[in-house]
């Protein structure tokens, strides 16, 4: 306790450096003065607010203490700062953000700390013990020394101490705390770095310091905890071996082993236990929002770096949970986005680099995702399913290996036969046979051992894992589809609880559909029927319920288009031998074209649908092709100029598709002729029904493509040239065109396809440059079309178009004015007329009166 007291005294030593005269002055305060101060508190108020510390600081530098004392003072001051550094460690520091900082007169910024700090310094004796744990013996010695010296000094300056005002004292203490806090932080950082470096330099020797580092993660200071976690991450990433650690069993422990093996075992077990502790700490801290970011980063990096190591499962669980985290926490949405991106990239890299972990982690991750989707009833962020897209399956895994297996089997059979024969031949030779048997046994054992040791994954194993992964993936996809189906049925009653708006209702449908499209060639034949049924029903959804105005959840147009695309992809990739006509989906597309809005729905999806369904498919019956031609023309026409900038791309697509259809279906060019009724080709339906829902019954052949004529006057050069190009493709020309050379036709088609491709590229660039796109398209199309178009012309045409528009506006305005003036004039006329008779009457009556009077 004596030491403690000494410390206490020493604590208050600083103030006494005041020159004694000043102290004397203080004493000489007269009653009059006091009275004056009391009376004029306003004047004297500043005294209490004086920054005693800064004043003292200056004062301490001044002479007034004899030389010896001065020297001792300086020394002591230095030491004290050192000491306080250590004290600091036990002091709870408030996050700088939590309390507003104070700026002193000399420009230093002080962060306020807890009031507890005062207490802590008083109980320094206790604190010392904890400090000693971490510091070196050297420092301890130093501490003792300083304490002794402090005692001496304390005696010397005991008198002045008591004079010191308590306020000053408190302020001083506070400042010291701050300083020491920073220093301690620095010290800890240094310590962490030291430990880390030592570990990396020689992990086997310094493996124990892992635990020491782990202690940092339990520190009270948040930033220290974070630093500790991150530095541990770096260390683990480096020292974790390339194999999975298996702890020795008890039996193995009992066995005698060499020193090296013992050392190795110790190393591994320490590493494993430290790693386990670290992971537990991570998972525990994950729930706290302030550590969330660091923890997620740590987990992801670990999973990325060492997916083969022990405790991978818990890491995977954490990552998958983070991917699927829904947006409930609005406050952290921005941060969540970052986490999700990190997690996604981790999982993706996990999928792509299967060599690291032999594919087991992939299976686990996919299974976890499947379970996650199941648990959350498909209400998750789309990213959680989108990661499945980066899976890759080895198609060739099955067949050649099987053949090899067969060969092996054959070989074995042969061998067996040989053996059999051999054994048949020398029947009595038992010894030889037993020898052979032992040899075979040995060989088998060796092979098994080799297999266990070598890291080349077994083909059978890989096949099994792949099929497992696939089944999990498709389970997820089918669950989402089914959920979408069911939710639509159920939602008529419970519509409120599911958030509305865009894809909010079925967040997972879009990635699910794209995934189905990608893996369509892997779907089992048995499921295809059900899948097509689902897709058909999903694609059909919306049309009927729109009209009935029910509150059934509709899929957006893009989603329904995607359904059609997926159906075609599935069919194409699975039924190459059998050409199946997907009539229902054509009906859907036919109706969806009308519902499509360029601003609202995604143009790329429509482009893809048109390409896959209409351009890639060779055969269409005439009625259907004609119906699509007519409808696409209508579609291209029916948007005003306001939407055309956004929808220009869509126009072009529809027009290009139209052109392709026309080129392929010669008979449909009757549409281009100015002869309504269609003649003999028109079939049984004599009249075009523009609102019909079935393309083969619409009777489009009876109509005329008058839309092209209007479109050829479109201000957009690409559209106008394309439209006029199509309309000039009448039957007279095209007979020549067909008869001339199929090669030329083919070339034309190629050009067409090229331009089409470019269009699609333009579509992907859509978001980048909206305005630039249309001109780019124009120029590319210009390169295809005969008349070259430069930007000047475009601008000229645009100008003309807008001038025309402005003229129309002006005209309207003028007319309005004219109407107003004419009406005013008319009113005036009427007024005049009314007045005239009145005056006349007056006159007449006057006259009459006068006459009467007369």
């Amino acid at each position: 306790m004596g030491k403690g007291k000494g410390k206490q005294r020493k604590q208050i030593i600083l103030p006494p450096e005041l020159p004694p005269e000043i102290a004397d002055d203080d004493i000489e305060v007269s009653d009059e003065d006091l009275q004056f101060v009391d009376e004029n508190k306003d004047y004297a108020g500043f005294v209490s607010r004086l920054d005693t510390h800064s004043i003292n600081k200056q004062v301490t530098r001044v002479e007034g203490v004899n030389e010896d004392a001065l020297e001792a003072l300086y020394e002591k001051r230095r030491r004290k700062t050192l000491e306080q550094k250590e004290n600091e460690k036990s002091v709870v520091q408030v996050d700088p953000v939590d309390a507003l900082p104070v700026k002193s007169l000399d420009g230093e910024v002080y962060y306020r700390t807890f009031s507890q700090t005062a207490e802590v310094t008083e109980n320094e004796g206790d604190v010392d013990k904890s400090v000693v744990k971490l510091t070196k013996a050297e420092r301890r010695a130093k501490l003792k020394k300083t304490k002794k010296e402090a005692k001496k000094m304390g005696k010397e300056l005991a008198k002045t101490e008591e004079v010191q005002p308590t306020q000053q004292e408190a302020a001083l203490a506070e400042v010291k705390e701050d300083l020491t806090a920073e220093d301690a932080f620095e010290a800890k950082k240094r310590k962490l770095a030291e430990l880390g470096m030592a570990l990396l330099a020689d992990p086997e020797a310094n493996i124990k310091s892992l635990k020491e580092m782990l202690q940092f993660a339990k520190d009270g200071d948040h930033s220290i905890v974070k630093l500790g976690l991150l530095s541990l991450l770096a260390v683990f990433k480096d020292i974790i071996p390339g194999y999975r650690i298996r702890l020795p069993t008890e039996k193995e422990l009992e066995m005698k082993v060499s020193k090296e093996v013992k050392k190795m075992r110790f190393y591994e077990s320490t590493l494993l236990s430290a790693y386990k502790g670290y992971l537990q700490k991570l998972l525990a801290l994950e729930k706290q929002p302030r550590f969330h970011h660091v923890v997620v980063r740590c987990i992801c990096t670990l999973l990325d770096a060492v997916p083969h190591f022990n405790f991978r499962e818990s890491l995977l669980v954490a990552v998958v949970r983070n991917i699927g985290s829904s947006d409930d926490v609005v406050r952290y949405t921005g941060l969540l986005l970052v986490y999700r991106r990190i997690c996604c990239s981790t999982i993706k890299s996990l999928f792509t680099s299967e060599g690291k972990h032999g594919g087991e982690a992939t299976v686990e991750a996919v299974r976890l995702i499947a379970d996650h989707v199941k648990v959350h009833d498909c209400q998750l962020h789309p990213d959680s399913v989108e990661v499945l897209m980066s899976l890759s399956f080895d198609d060739d895994l099955g067949k050649p290996e099987v053949q090899e297996g067969n060969n092996k089997m054959k070989n074995k059979k042969n061998k067996k036969r040989k053996n059999f024969e051999e054994s048949n031949q020398p029947q009595g030779n038992d010894r030889k046979r037993s020898k052979q048997e032992t040899i075979a046994k040995m060989k088998e054992e060796v092979a098994a051992d080799y297999k266990a040791v070598s890291y080349t994954p077994d083909v059978e194993e890989r096949k099994r894992m792949q099929s497992e992964t696939l089944s999990a993936v498709f389970e997820t996809y089918f669950r989402i589809l089914r959920h979408t189906m069911q939710s639509s049925v159920a939602s008529s009653e419970a519509n409120g609880n599911i958030t509305s708006g865009g894809s909010g209702a079925h967040p997972l449908l879009a990635p699910c559909l794209s995934g189905l499209g990608k893996f369509s060639h892997l779907i089992d034949m048995d499921y295809i029927g059900d899948l097509m049924n689902y897709l058909k029903r999903l694609a059909a959804r919306g049309g009927s319920s729109d009209s009935s105005a029910q509150k059934v959840q509709n899929l957006t147009v893009s989603e329904r288009l995607r359904c059609c695309i997926v159906a075609f992809k599935v069919m194409r990739s699975n039924l190459d031998a059998l050409n199946v006509d997907l009539q229902d989906f054509f009906v859907q597309l036919y109706n969806l074209v009308l519902e499509f809005r360029p601003g609202r729905d995604e143009g790329e999806v429509l482009a893809e649908a048109l390409k896959i369904m209409l351009c890639d498919d060779r055969q269409h019956d005439m009625q259907k092709a004609a119906a699509f031609i007519k409808r696409l023309a209508t579609f291209a026409l029916c948007f005003g100029s306001a939407e055309s900038m956004a929808g220009g791309f869509t126009y072009l697509n529809s027009l290009v598709t139209l052109k392709q259809l026309l080129q392929r279906n010669v008979k449909c060019r009757n549409l281009l002729e100015n002869d309504a009724g269609g003649g003999s080709v028109s079939g049984s339906i004599a009249k075009y029904q523009p609102y019909g829902s079935d393309p083969s019954l619409s009777g489009a052949l009876a109509s005329v493509l008058w839309e092209l004529n209007l479109l050829s006057k479109h201000y957009h050069p690409a559209i106008s040239t394309l439209a006029s190009g199509i309309s000039s493709m009448n039957s007279a020309q095209n007979q020549v065109y067909i008869s001339i050379s199929p090669q030329q036709a083919f070339k034309n088609l190629l050009l067409e396809a090229e331009s089409f491709k470019y269009n699609q590229q333009g579509g992907t660039e859509k978001s980048n440059k909206r305005k630039g796109r249309s001109t780019a398209l124009a120029s590319t199309l210009a390169s295809v079309e005969p008349p070259p178009i430069d930007e000047n012309e475009v601008s000229k045409k645009l100008r003309r178009h807008f001038i025309l528009l402005r003229d129309i506006k002006e005209n309207e305005r003028l007319r309005g004015e004219l109407d107003r003036t004419t009406s005013a004039l008319q009113l005036y006329e009427e007024y005049k007329k009314q007045r005239k008779p009145a005056t006349l009457k007056n006159k007449k009556s006057k006259k009459a009166r006068t006459t009467v009077g007369m």
Binding site: K536, D584, D621
Partner: protein, 193 residues
């Protein structure tokens, strides 16, 4: 010549429904532009000498001028009732079915002739097929250039077709346009009767 009674109507409609599905409505409600009337009339089914005809209203009115024994045929012959009371579609209704068909099969050019000689459609001759055909559905057979060739009954579903071997039967033959030549005599006889 008389309208069909209820039993006969159901028999006829059920048969046609197999081929056209909900498009049966189009057949019944198809407006006819025959005759002098400005208003488009309707088509109706009439029974004459065991045969069912698809006739426009105005033609029915005008046909009343002809004696029943003298009337050989009227409108489009759709099918006939057998002695057992069953209804069979005949090749003359092909155009009607083709325009409204729900299930279609397109034949490869090589197997067209085989079908036109009243053989069944084999998997090997299949050029294209509509999806979601169930066994027992009525199927209209087209050539690759969309010319209706005949009709039949599906023996296998679309899904099953994939796994079949090329010689398996996909569509059972019922009628084809080859009959116009093959059974010329029979048709003539009917008309002469």
């Amino acid at each position: 010549m008389r309208p069909l009674d209820e039993k006969e109507t159901t028999a006829v409609f059920e048969k046609i429904f197999k081929f056209t599905g909900n498009n049966l409505k189009n057949i019944v409600e198809n407006p006819s532009h025959e005759g002098p009337d400005k208003e488009p009339g309707r088509y109706c089914f009439r029974l004459h000498k065991n045969k069912v005809y698809y006739v426009s209203d105005s033609l029915v009115k005008r046909a009343t001028n002809v004696a029943r024994t003298k009337l050989a045929s009227i409108g489009t012959c759709v099918g006939r009732f057998t002695h057992g009371g069953n209804f069979h579609l005949t090749i003359e209704c092909l155009n009607l079915l083709a325009a409204n068909a729900k299930h279609k099969v397109w034949l490869k050019p090589t197997s067209e002739m085989s079908f036109l000689y009243a053989n069944h459609v084999l998997k090997g001759g299949l050029g294209r097929i509509t999806e979601s055909i169930a066994p027992g559905d009525g199927v209209v057979v087209f050539s690759m250039s969309d010319l209706p060739l005949g009709f039949g009954v599906a023996a296998k579903s679309t899904q099953d077709c994939r796994k079949l071997d090329p010689n398996a039967i996909v569509v059972l033959h019922q009628a084809d346009i080859g009959e116009y030549l093959r059974m010329e005599n029979q048709h003539e006889q009917i008309i002469e009767e």
